[in-house]
Subunit: 331 residues, 2 copies
């Protein structure tokens, strides 16, 4: 049994779509239990309206609403009884295996950081590991937007975390790690990427060199390492491309059309995973509908069940030990 | 009559596709004259093979080949009789209005910079202004990959140059200028973008604020300002999207399919324009086929005819004067 806590008031269309997504998720997976965190009476009434009376969902009362633009740390301090903070607190108490919110993403980040705690001081903020589509399969992008102005060594840590994520989730021993750059040669790009390239050559990952935007979409790498800024641009462009396609062609009724919907619709990849935490924190899209919520819960359960966070943390810890154990270099 | 010099040996599939593209371009536009720069006998034989005997094309002998990985400055010094250098030199001599090469882009950049000269010291390298597709129209991206690690003030200069480009080419008085960022709020993103945001508020452009990757593809801005690095990732991703679509769906035989091909096929937008030069230098895609060459020549002629370079330079010069004329701020 995997238990996932879900913020019932999180997202632009909460709580209705959140409840609907939760019901659909537990109806599909009898091994899944969802703890809905939100105003108890409202949530229970909503579930009743949906005709749900099973025992795959329980409710924890968390009445405080959180606005999308509320200051993250203020939310944590002043709204301990919000669905957002509660779904993380339950994991801290060991009552659930993962926490999901489509609400204020900064507040979710802060709650996970403060309550679950980070496992390494390498990151000022846990990088966002996001599953993204390519022409024929999914790959992992790190960081999809938590950090800015990273040092080269931080990009290496993104690579290690992303590599462990991919290894565990896709059961792949040596995922190919590419550095998102503007040319293949190692002297190309911003100074920090040139430096990261040199560090990655000696990092404990299967570094395949620089990859460009087009290579990324052709699936040349399994893990794409990027600054949070450019990673976020990439993620939003992928969403935008799906939207362009929808506006121009609608849903195409063919085998290729179905594959495209399954892979490129942002809702299908569920939420993004915060890396380097003592636990599994998932940020779902603010404009999530029921399907997006269902998928976010589904991946949260999968990440927790296969131990993505544990493996990521073990790999990050190993590296730290290696570095500490290494003899000082003679000048 | 607009005269365009074209590097006959530039690109992965030169000279055959270059000659074919040139012939198609002049056959379509009787007001266009192309000067093919390359090994004279080979070029003339190629034109004869294509059955072309009109007077829309002339040939200037430039026998030196330039490799794609040759050092840019070395090309300029040691290969003055290459098609690449010659097509720029002809413009310097006033014999043509624009120069196009699908060859070594660094060498084309260096040749344009050294031979045509830059009009402003604001840029260490002329930024690349590139026309890119959105859901329903074309917009301009600056910089698409010439610069890295720009200062905030350089991003403002990109905005001014891009705005003048869009104004002139699309005959639009106040193009909307957006700063590519990872959130709409002005405090979002890397430090240099936060600084650029403040500068852009007072810059002589119609600044609409930050735009995200998705907004870009939805055509929220007419001109998108970005670091050369992230701009290049954006450009390559757009090419990648088209490729993904092609691989998944092939060419779709419908009105929408035709519109998609016309807008998203990288070949249709022709080459990218170097901004801030005394002249019109166009870098075409290395893997250009005949259609891409034809379109690159077509846009080169259009840019030259409507005076894009002149207007960009006038606007950049104005700003310089303004800044110089402004009284010193009291501390």
């Amino acid at each position: 049994m995997v238990k996932v806590a879900l913020d019932a008031l999180g997202g632009d269309f909460a709580p209705s779509v959140v409840l609907e997504g939760a019901v659909n998720a537990v109806n599909k997976d009898s091994n899944l239990h969802i703890v809905l965190c939100g105003p108890e009476a409202e949530v229970k009434a909503g579930l009743e309206k949906l005709g749900y009376s099973g025992n795959g969902i329980s409710v924890v009362d968390a009445p405080d609403p959180v606005a999308m633009d509320e200051h993250p740390v203020q939310v944590l301090k002043k709204k301990p009884h919000s669905g957002l903070v509660t779904c993380v607190a339950l994991q801290k108490m060991g009552k659930v295996d993962a926490s999901v919110s489509a609400g204020n993403s900064g507040a979710m980040m802060a709650s996970c950081l403060m309550l679950l705690g980070k496992t390494t001081d390498k990151f000022s903020r846990p990088p966002i590991g996001c599953v993204i589509p390519t022409v024929d399969r999914q790959i992992v992008l790190v960081d999809a937007g938590a950090n800015v102005d990273e040092r080269a060594s931080t990009l290496v840590d993104f690579a290690i975390a992303g590599s462990a994520f991919y290894q565990t989730y896709y059961n792949c021993e040596k995922p190919k790690v590419g550095l998102l750059n503007m040319g293949e040669e190692e002297h190309k790009g911003p100074a920090v990427l040139q430096e990261a390239y040199q560090l990655l050559k000696n990092a404990p990952v299967n570094f395949i060199g620089n990859i460009e935007g087009e290579d990324l979409l052709m699936g040349k790498a399994d893990v794409v390492v990027s600054s949070g800024y450019t990673g976020n641009v990439v993620l939003k462009m992928i969403e935008g491309f799906y939207e362009v396609h929808q506006k121009m062609f609608g849903t195409i009724d063919s085998e290729a059309g179905r594959r495209f919907e399954e892979m490129w619709d942002y809702r299908m990849t569920g939420g993004a995973l915060l890396l380097g935490l003592n636990g599994t924190g998932i940020i779902a899209h603010g404009r999530s509908d029921a399907l997006a919520i269902e998928k976010a819960v589904e991946v949260a359960a999968k990440y927790a069940a296969c131990g993505v966070a544990k493996n990521v943390n073990a790999r990050l810890a190993e590296i730290k030990d290696d570095a500490e154990a290494a003899p000082a270099t003679n000048p």
